[in-house]
């Protein structure tokens, strides 16, 4: 009997074109669009070397440290920042006028940056000069107030801290993958579609089919269990297809700990199904309305987990941590993030447990409604 229900539920779900579209085809389309949008964004973020002119006057020639800095930033390497020309003032003005450079630097009493327009390149030139002044100022202060420190190697330590800063920023951090994490989180929650469906077609007060199966000699929980199992099998298969699409077609880097990723998304799929169950059983709205509620709730969770604006995730985590700790999409996103960036699994398991607690709470509340065997009205 159980397998009869399970097999037929599989058939019903597999042939449900609308559900399959929203839970499989739509996410694949969305992932593809994300990939297109973010690949442009990523390529747009690569530093293009900034065309810069430096007026090669006497003041510049004696400013040895600054000269070294500009030279090092103009060296032909992966980190080359400037494409620098050393020219006369007139030539620099002409180059700027003709838009062949983003700006020029002229050293008089102090180092001046001359630009024609505002923009990222101009800001970058300005911040290099500002940073230079800041470092010079720090060294001057130390040498005045504590010359002993310079002999004791403060400058080397300053260098070290700069190196550390560089190390972190050079790590292979790709903020774009976080968008795909939220997409995976959202898709896990779309399992709710099947949860809504399973519960509607089992409860006599929610559908005609529910009434029909309720008068059969099958225990309600056997019906529900078979329906949920079929829902999980179909939905998790869809999640696996999506993961495969992300990994092998779009080449999204999800790290190298694939088994924990599979566990996390499986628990995420359970959480989604449980959310759908609660939305399905807790009210007598139409099936379409329930699906709309589910999609809206899922979108809200995804938004709060940073799907549309990445910063939202961090704002929520800092300002309203409670919200982050009840958001299943956030658990999934954060779990994937922690697998990618941390060497230990503590934070990962925190998120898995968070999802399990969410699932349990959803099912427990649903049980209050499901346990009814007779109704006041149908």
């Amino acid at each position: 009997m159980f397998w009869h229900i399970f097999i037929n539920r599989l058939k019903i779900l597999l042939r449900s074109k609308s559900a399959i579209f929203w839970t499989l085809v739509f996410p694949i389309i969305l992932a593809t669009l994300f990939n297109l949008a973010f690949s442009n964004l990523t390529s747009g973020e690569y530093f293009e070397t900034i065309d810069l002119a430096v007026v090669n006057n006497d003041n510049f020639k004696v400013e040895e440290n600054f000269k070294d800095l500009i030279q090092s930033l103009s060296e032909d390497s992966e980190e080359q920042l400037f494409n620098t020309q050393y020219v006369s003032l007139e030539k620099a003005k002409t180059l700027l006028q003709d838009d062949e450079i983003s700006g020029y630097i002229i050293v008089n009493d102090k180092i001046n940056v001359v630009i024609k327009n505002n923009g990222i390149n101009q800001s970058t030139i300005k911040s290099v000069v500002d940073n230079y002044y800041q470092v010079v100022s720090v060294i001057n202060n130390i040498s005045k107030s504590n010359p002993e420190a310079i002999r004791n190697g403060v400058l080397e330590k300053l260098n070290e801290s700069t190196s550390n800063f560089n190390d972190v920023s050079n790590e292979n951090v790709d903020p774009i993958v976080v968008y795909f994490y939220t997409l995976i989180g959202m898709i896990c929650l779309y399992g709710g579609t099947f949860g809504v469906n399973a519960v509607i077609e089992t409860e006599a007060n929610l559908s005609k089919k529910g009434a029909r199966v309720s008068v059969s000699p099958v225990h309600k929980f056997k019906l529900l269990l078979a329906s949920f199992l079929a829902a999980i099998v179909i939905h998790y298969s869809e999640v696996l297809i999506l993961l495969g699409y992300l990994l092998f077609i779009l080449k999204i880097d999800l790290g190298n700990q694939i088994l924990p990723v599979l566990l996390l998304t499986f628990v995420g799929s359970l959480a989604g199904t449980s959310l759908g169950t609660l939305i399905g059983v807790s009210n007598k709205k139409s099936e379409n309305m329930k699906m709309s509620i589910l999609i809206s709730v899922t979108m809200l969770f995804s938004f709060l987990a940073g799907m549309m604006v990445l910063q939202i995730k961090y704002i929520i985590a800092n300002k309203i941590p409670v919200l982050a700790n009840i958001n299943p999409v956030n658990f999934i996103t954060d779990g994937l993030y922690s697998l990618y960036y941390y060497n230990t699994l503590d934070r990962y398991f925190y998120n898995v447990i968070g999802l399990l607690v969410f699932t349990l709470v959803m099912f427990l509340i649903s049980y209050i409604f499901i346990r009814r065997k007779k109704y006041d009205s149908l």
């Binding site: 009869h4 058939k11 042939r15 099958v218 007779k374 109704y375």
Partner: protein
């Protein structure tokens, strides 16, 4: 005959609205019992209470001598239900739908296949086996709905208005199928607001109104409750008040109405009423085009008992 279903003093409210008012009746083994009443009279509520889907305020329901509860799986396995609304899966074919619902009752695959085949033959859906519900007409869909409810060969079948909005061909097919199921031994409860159906099908009829039993008995017994014996309608060329008064004074006459060249006469009792009326018209040289006579219907019974039409 033993009682298969016993309903005693059943009372049910929907908030302040009393849907069932102290309802008591029995369904005998092997009979077709018709629950007849207008929309909102409490037929479906009665069925849903019997099936233990609805809570009720007072009363008791026994099926096969046992108290009916949601967990009475042994009783449920003997019941087949056809609800008023079509309840099938759009994603499954005709055959698969019947298989799914039959499989909730019958585990053995071979027996099930035979049962499905019998059900498909009974409702005449053989050539539509591989069709999906959306490919079926309303009438065929209703037949599928019935097949899904009765494929497991239940000994008690409850049909809640199974012919609503069905074409005449499908209706005949459904009614013939129900007769066949009854011949095969099933006890049937049939709710409808179509009086013609209960007259054709049912051994016994319960007329419901506002959650109460207005009358019950065989069709003949119910018709004996009304004060009219015969209704005659005549299409005339002309008529006048003198004739009208004279006719009203004739024997056995109940009511005489003349309107737009149509004369409507009811007779309280007596034989040869039609002949007497024709004689009256011939004597008075009253020309007529058409004349026809009707016996009282269940609608007349309902009208006389409640003051309103069955389909109001």
């Amino acid at each position: 005959m033993k009682n298969i279903i016993e309903v005693k003093k059943l009372t049910k409210h929907y908030k302040d609205f009393k849907a069932l008012d102290n309802l008591s009746f029995e369904v005998k083994e092997g009979e077709i019992l018709g629950l007849l009443g207008p929309n909102g009279s409490g037929k479906s509520t009665t069925i849903n209470c019997i099936l233990s889907l609805l809570n009720f305020d007072k009363g008791s329901i026994k099926i096969l001598g046992q108290e009916m509860t949601p967990d009475a799986y042994d009783i449920k396995s003997k019941i087949g239900v056809v609800f008023q609304d079509v309840a099938v899966f759009d994603e499954l074919t005709v055959y698969e739908n019947i298989n799914y619902f039959c499989g909730l009752y019958v585990n053995d695959k071979k027996i099930r296949q035979q049962y499905i085949s019998d059900a498909i033959d009974l409702v005449g859906l053989k050539e539509f086996e591989r069709f999906y519900p959306k490919q079926l007409s309303g009438g065929l869909l209703r037949r599928l709905n019935i097949a899904c409810g009765i494929a497991h060969k239940p000994s008690i079948i409850i049909l809640d208005e199974p012919t609503v909005a069905v074409d005449p061909q499908s209706r005949n097919n459904i009614l013939e199928g129900i007769k066949q199921l009854n011949k095969n031994g099933a006890t049937i409860v049939y709710t409808t607001h179509y009086m013609e159906e209960v007259e054709i099908l049912c051994d016994r009829i319960i007329i419901l109104d506002k959650g109460k039993i207005v009358a019950s008995g065989t069709s003949k017994e119910l018709k004996e409750l009304v004060s009219i014996e015969e209704k005659i309608t005549v299409e005339l060329e002309s008529f006048n008040d003198k004739f009208l008064e004279e006719l009203k004074g004739s024997k056995n006459i109940g009511e005489v109405i003349y309107n737009d060249n149509i004369l409507f006469v009811t007779y309280k009792k007596g034989k040869h009423n039609l002949k007497d009326l024709i004689d009256f018209m011939q004597v008075n040289k009253i020309k007529y085009n058409k004349i026809f006579s009707e016996l009282p219907t269940l609608n007349d019974v309902f009208l006389e008992l409640t003051g309103k039409e069955l389909r109001d």
